[in-house]
């Protein structure tokens, strides 16, 4: 599991990773010295139709985070993976995708109490983003109970 120190080290390796560092810092600022940075990114999502998306998502993810590919449609990613992951624990994710893909993930994230915490237009087709618990909510994100 990535530690806060590791995450910040990753964040300091390049300007493209600054948002991750800011994210971690925002958590740390809200919660004091210890708590939230123990939550690494669960995955970084990219759109394999756009080479730039893969490159930026790779930078965003750093060496410890799995990359997940979509081609516009996020159905399979959510249905086969994120659905189960977020049922266990709503974990932060990030990505560089189309705005439409982000929109779907944003609304699915709402269901487990996660927000878009960063949104930055890359170009006409891509947006770079992070989804996670807000600082205040991070300690008590809702969990979907088992059926």
């Amino acid at each position: 599991m990535t530690s806060r120190r590791q995450m910040l080290q990753i964040g300091l390796t390049g300007a493209a990773l600054l948002p991750i560092a800011m994210y971690a810092d925002a958590w740390a600022g809200a919660w004091g010295a210890e708590p939230l940075y123990t939550e690494p990114l669960y995955m970084a999502v990219f759109d394999e139709r756009f080479p730039k998306s893969r490159a930026l998502a790779g930078e965003l993810a750093g060496p410890f985070t799995p990359l997940a590919a979509v081609r516009g449609d996020v159905t399979a990613l959510w249905y086969h993976d994120l659905y189960f992951a977020w049922r266990k624990r709503p974990q932060p994710i990030a990505g560089v995708t189309s705005a439409e893909s982000l929109f779907c993930l944003e609304l699915l994230a709402r269901d487990v109490g996660l927000h878009v915490t960063r949104r930055q237009v890359v170009d006409a087709k891509l947006v770079s983003w992070s989804i996670g618990p807000s600082a205040r909510r991070a300690g008590r994100v809702p969990r979907t109970p088992p059926r």
């Binding site: 516009g72 159905t75 705005a99 779907c104 609304l107 709402r110 269901d111 008590r140």
Partner: protein
Amino acid sequence: MARPLPPGVSQRDFSQALRQFEAAVGKEWVFSSDEDVDLYRDAYSPFWNEPDERIPSAAVAPDLVEQVQQIVRIAGKYRIPLWTISTGKNLGYGGSAPNISGSVVLDLKRMNRVLEVNEKNHYALVEPGVSYFDLYRHIQEKRLKLWIDPPDPGWGSLVGNALERGGGYTPMRDHFDAHCGMEIVLASGDVVRTGMGALGNARTWQQYKYGFGPYVDGIFSQSNLGIVTKMGFWLYPEPEAYFSGTVMVPRHDDIHALVDALALLLNSGVVQGTTSVLNTASFGPPDPELARIRVGSSTSDLERYMAQKGLGYWTVDLPFYGPAKVVAAQWEHAKEKFSTIPGVQFRDGASYRFPLSQAELEKIPNPVPLGVPSLATFAIGGPFSQGHMWFSPIIPMTGEAVIEATRVFEQVNTDLGNPAGALPGLPIWSFFARAFVIIYFFPIEHDVEKNRRNREIFRRLVTVAADHGWGEYRTHTAFMDDIASVYSYNNRALWRLHETIKDALDPSGILAPGKNGVWPRRLRRSNA
């Protein structure tokens, strides 16, 4: 954006109510911080960056029917309006945001139990938080030979979509019609079961709709008379085969014979899934020459152009479900019915035998007509990122109505000073039996003036449609009063009846005040 209090409720009473909600459902399931409540804003609000956006004051998420009962009793005590959502995905019609600011969102997403799925009699009983994906997953995991009928997209609630009278694509496409039995919490906190459910120990709650005595299920759809906490649905037995055939006719005036034959096939049950009638020129890829012909040339010029391209002026896709031999015979029968139209063309489309493997399924661009929920609709391109709302009038299933509606709505567009073609094309759907529904796409933009303009066009379309005898089947919360006002026969007799029932069942007026234009006595304009 500042969060409002419920109308007429003091901060002190509101705080007390929130504490009582917390006692009922647990503190972690009452949401009152800005960041939590923001999650319930309409992702597609037509009031983007305007003070008229409807903002909730808080949200509460019960897990049990008993908790819903407690919540409505607390809300009644403090006269706090509750806006019930199931999964909150009613996009294009208001999403999860309330009809009036300050409402507390009653979020039923935790009530997500699949209570029963019966493979032999083909039905399910579910709670409101069960999405189409949830029920699909349940059926797949248990390897049941059953289909659901998801709308597009499929992340919404079966209960929510059926109560809003949404539509899908398979033979179970009319979602309210496909329901069988409800459990409802009334504003008093009383729990009612409809149909055979009133027996208490019913063994046919999901098999016979009507029970004994007045059939009341309809008054709980598009309604603010109760909170539906369970609902039964008839499911479609997995068919042996699916086939899609396309019919194209060459001339503008062929629409009459085309729709006549289509209506015969639909109303006689030969075609059981949703079809759409398309003006082919409106839905192709960008084509400058076609754009020039559409604006400046005659209908015959357009007919010639489409013929040169090997396309029809009008196109209809016909879906068939059932035994393979029957499906093939139905397509042959359909072709016979359309073959009286000179120049008609037929094309064979997708053909599948079931069950499909996961690998086969993943190759299908749009699996929704095969009962498989998907979000792929968001990936087809278009201005989805900033949102949309739907204008969706019901028109007769006749060629005359298609022509007239096209002409009238284009004229409204021109009268309002918009360029020709500013209104999107008219996909005309058969989501419901016996009538067409037109689904207009109105973009939501991050531009206050454009949104105001679109709202103006929308309201104008509502009144012009009503003047021609067409009414909307469903609408965004922003336009519910507008739509209700045109259902005005005999001095609004139907809405006066709705208000009478509302006042009897919900005298404190706490359940979704104003939903679909039905206001409780204390909030009616005549009492304001």
